[in-house]
């Protein structure tokens, strides 16, 4: 519904621009009576002129790195000197045969799953609550959103200090309440580290979910709430039967962003644990950085990045086909 509205609104706005674009130049062409062909050329030139910088940037910073990563993945290369030791698919064999990398994939997928399972309900709850007219609503919304605005590295360093074993604030608070923190701290215990990282990630990214959901809720017309209330629906029923279904496209978009972010997770893990303890928190991205820049196995890092790309690409594609089609299909 929301997206249909947006599309309908967008079409009439777009139409005059198009007319303007094609009609204007011929009407005001500098040489009166020039053939219509020249205006078409001019238009093409204009398009080329406007698109070229973007394409050049895209080619330099997106396409070229992807191509070189793929090329790198077929060689054994230390990062300098000529790249001439072709090894075929051996790097892929090594990456896929490496238990550390397979664990990393599992960690990524765990974060993807946990994000949807935990952040979605939590985000919805907060969004629905913050959508009500309560005192200090603006302040509360800001507080929820602040972690998202913080640079990830800064947030990571702050949490790293808070989570220090014994001396960190988190453990001090828990001890005061009477809970014994784990012997090696939350980040130093292999069984707890990934969960701890996830808690910090939730703190960091819940704000984005809440912001998106709030925006979605603003788009729900008041009339619908009123009509439901007139029909005797309770507040809870109104949220569940009216607001939530209308929020569908927003939720699906958020889940997509969250999924891609979780697959590419790097900064927070790197700061908090560096992938440790005992590889308990490695992700595909930390794996490829430690293999590449730290160990100088650029071929293996290239293969890992290709695998990461393929996984992310396939998941994104599947999500488009299976889930997001509902939203894009509506437009036609």
């Amino acid at each position: 519904m929301i997206s249909t509205g947006a599309a309908v609104a967008a079409t009439p706005a777009a139409a005059p621009v198009g007319e303007h674009g094609t009609g204007d130049p011929s009407g005001r062409s500098p040489v009166p009576g020039s053939p219509p062909g020249s205006s078409r050329w001019r238009q093409r030139l204009e398009i080329a002129l406007f698109v070229t910088p973007a394409l050049a940037l895209m080619a330099t910073f997106v396409v070229w790195p992807v191509v070189s990563a793929v090329r790198m993945s077929f060689f054994r290369w230390k990062g300098f000197g000529p790249m001439d030791d072709f090894v075929g698919l051996r790097n892929y064999e090594q990456v896929l045969g490496d238990a550390v990398f397979r664990d990393a994939v599992v960690h990524n997928l765990t974060i993807v799953g946990l994000s949807v399972a935990v952040q979605l309900p939590l985000g919805l709850l907060l969004a629905v609550l913050l959508n009500r007219r309560i005192r200090g609503r603006g302040l509360l919304r800001t507080i929820v959103f602040v972690p998202y605005v913080l640079a990830e590295v800064i947030a990571g360093v702050v949490w790293f200090q808070l989570l220090q074993p014994r001396s960190g604030l988190v453990e001090e608070i828990l001890t005061t309440v009477g809970i014994t923190p784990p012997e090696q701290g939350f980040l130093g215990t292999p069984g707890l580290a990934l969960w701890t990282v996830f808690v910090v990630l939730t703190w960091k990214y819940l704000g984005l979910a809440v912001l998106l959901f709030l925006a979605g809720l603003q788009g729900v017309p008041d009339e619908l709430y009123e009509a439901a209330q007139l029909d005797g629906a309770s507040w809870w029923q109104v949220q569940r039967r009216v607001a939530l279904p209308l929020l569908g496209p927003t939720i699906r978009t958020w889940a997509f962003l969250s999924m891609i972010g979780s697959l590419q997770l790097f900064d927070m893990v790197w700061i908090l644990t560096g992938g440790g303890p005992a590889n308990a928190t490695t992700t595909m991205a930390t794996y490829l950085v430690s293999q590449g820049t730290q160990r100088g196995n650029y071929g293996i890092a290239g293969a890992a990045s290709v695998v990461l790309f393929v996984i992310a690409f396939v998941m994104a594609l599947l999500y488009q086909v299976l889930v997001l089609r509902r939203d894009t299909g509506d437009q036609r």
């Binding site: 070229t52 910088p53 330099t60 000197g81 090696q184 440790g276 160990r295």
Partner: protein, 444 residues
């Protein structure tokens, strides 16, 4: 009225569109130019015969100022020569050098840590052979020390600061726990750990999050359990089947069993911040740490007063292992050397020779910037801790280069990973040997 205004506005829009298009065209053209300029830049580095670019990591005083003066003195003695000095934090320099080697844009004079890393640079034809050009300087350095910077009998860099690894400890905390003398054997170390624990003091900090600080325990274990011949032949053949390498892991286990480390040591960083392993020692939170000769300088950077442990700094060598085949006077260590890029002008070699001269090394020692390798400079050290350490180094039967440096990042990294897993109780001494062997075999 309205009509005219509208037309005017429209024209304005069109005008600005045109100019914007032109601006974009200029922009993209200049970007292309910039790109081609960058492409051409690579080859020209070091092309100027009278300019020497030099990167070093003494980015704090007094080292930074001292090196600026050294460069100036060299310029005065060699009219027309321009030395361009860049001082960077150590990690920044390492990262920039790695990027430089990838793009082929290496400074003329730079730091090499020796071992596998240097061998890779040599193999890629990027580092200059100094064997002939600096024969006189090379002759002054002990053979065992020099070995780390030699490939196939040729010397590619001149070590200017070499030190040994060992336990840095807090003399006050040792006293508090009633420890009379630093431990000399593993059994004594275990006793000392027990005494410290009884006194409610965390015995040891280790930055196992960075892996290499944990790996030093294994390295030193191997120096104690393997004879020098075994180590040398293993390094030559990359064959780690000798049982002494498993015994090295058992030495690590012996330490681990006493649970001596700071809480959360598996993710503790080595040197960054007050909560790092070095920070914990510097702020009196733990009694000791196994670290290289750079530790006092690192600790100074981690305390507010810039003094580190100050007067309370103590040092003792890694304890002896009963029944170990290693030479009791063998030590583990590493150091820094000046290398010259293959593309550098000849005057860069003269500059490196000058950096190793008695005069410059004496100043280096007076400023406590490291442990000089030029024998003429040893007397000049002013810091008593460093003076003690240099005695240990020079009395050592041999100084084994850190294995990760020696094997290079790929094999060394795999080795460190496996040792870190052992610290997390997820690998046995045999697993560590197997992982190292596997990485070495893949290296081919």
């Amino acid at each position: 009225m309205t009509h005219i205004t509208e037309g005017g506005a429209d024209k304005g829009v069109q005008m600005s569109r045109k100019t914007r298009g032109a601006a974009l065209a200029v922009l993209s053209a200049s970007m292309l130019l910039a790109a081609s300029a960058c492409g051409g830049d690579d080859a020209s580095s070091g092309g100027d015969a009278d300019t020497v670019t030099w990167w070093h990591n003494s980015n704090n005083e007094p080292g930074k100022g001292y090196y600026e003066q050294v460069a100036k003195d060299f310029e005065e003695a060699n009219p027309g020569v321009d030395v361009q000095v860049t001082a960077m934090a150590h990690q920044d320099m390492v990262d920039k050098l790695a990027a430089g080697f990838q793009s082929g844009d290496v400074p003329d004079v730079y730091m090499e840590r020796g071992g596998g890393e240097l061998a890779d640079h040599v193999e890629a034809g990027m580092t200059r052979d100094l064997t002939e050009d600096a024969a006189e300087e090379i002759g002054k350095i002990a053979e065992g020390t020099l070995a780390g910077w030699q490939v196939d009998g040729k010397t590619y860099a001149i070590p200017y600061s070499v030190g040994v690894d060992g336990f840095w400890y807090n003399t006050e905390l040792f006293e508090q726990a009633g420890i009379e003398a630093p431990p000399e054997t593993m059994d004594e170390l275990v006793d000392v750990i027990g005494q410290l624990k009884d006194a409610d003091i965390t015995p040891i900090s280790v930055g196992a999050g960075d892996k290499w600080p944990a790996a030093h325990y294994w390295y030193f274990g191997a120096v104690r359990t393997c004879s020098q011949d075994t180590l040398n032949s293993a390094m030559e053949s990359m064959d780690f089947s000798d049982p002494c390498f498993v015994e090295a892991g058992e030495v690590v286990d012996q330490v681990l069993e006493t649970e001596p480390f700071n809480p959360g040591f598996l993710t503790t960083p080595g040197q960054e911040g007050a909560s790092s392993a070095s920070g914990l020692l510097a702020t009196g939170k733990v009694a000791m740490e196994l670290q290289g000769h750079w530790e006092p300088g690192v600790m100074q950077g981690l305390t507010d007063d810039g003094k580190g442990l100050g007067e309370k700094t103590g040092w003792f060598p890694f304890p002896q292992v009963e029944g170990g085949e290693g030479d009791p006077a063998g030590q583990l260590g590493g150091g820094d050397a000046w290398a010259v890029a293959e593309t550098a002008p000849d005057v860069a070699v003269d500059f490196v020779k000058y950096l190793f001269s008695d005069e410059v090394q004496q100043g280096f020692a007076e400023n406590d910037m490291g442990l000089p390798t030029n024998p003429a400079a040893i007397e000049s050290l002013s810091d008593p801790a460093l003076a003690d350490l240099i005695q240990v180094r020079d009395e050592a039967a041999y100084v084994q280069l850190f294995f990760d440096t020696l094997f290079g990042p790929s094999v060394g990294g795999a080795m460190n990973d496996a040792i870190a897993l052992q610290f997390a109780d997820q690998a046995t001494p045999q697993d560590v040997v197997d992982a190292t062997q596997q990485a070495a075999d893949q290296e081919g």
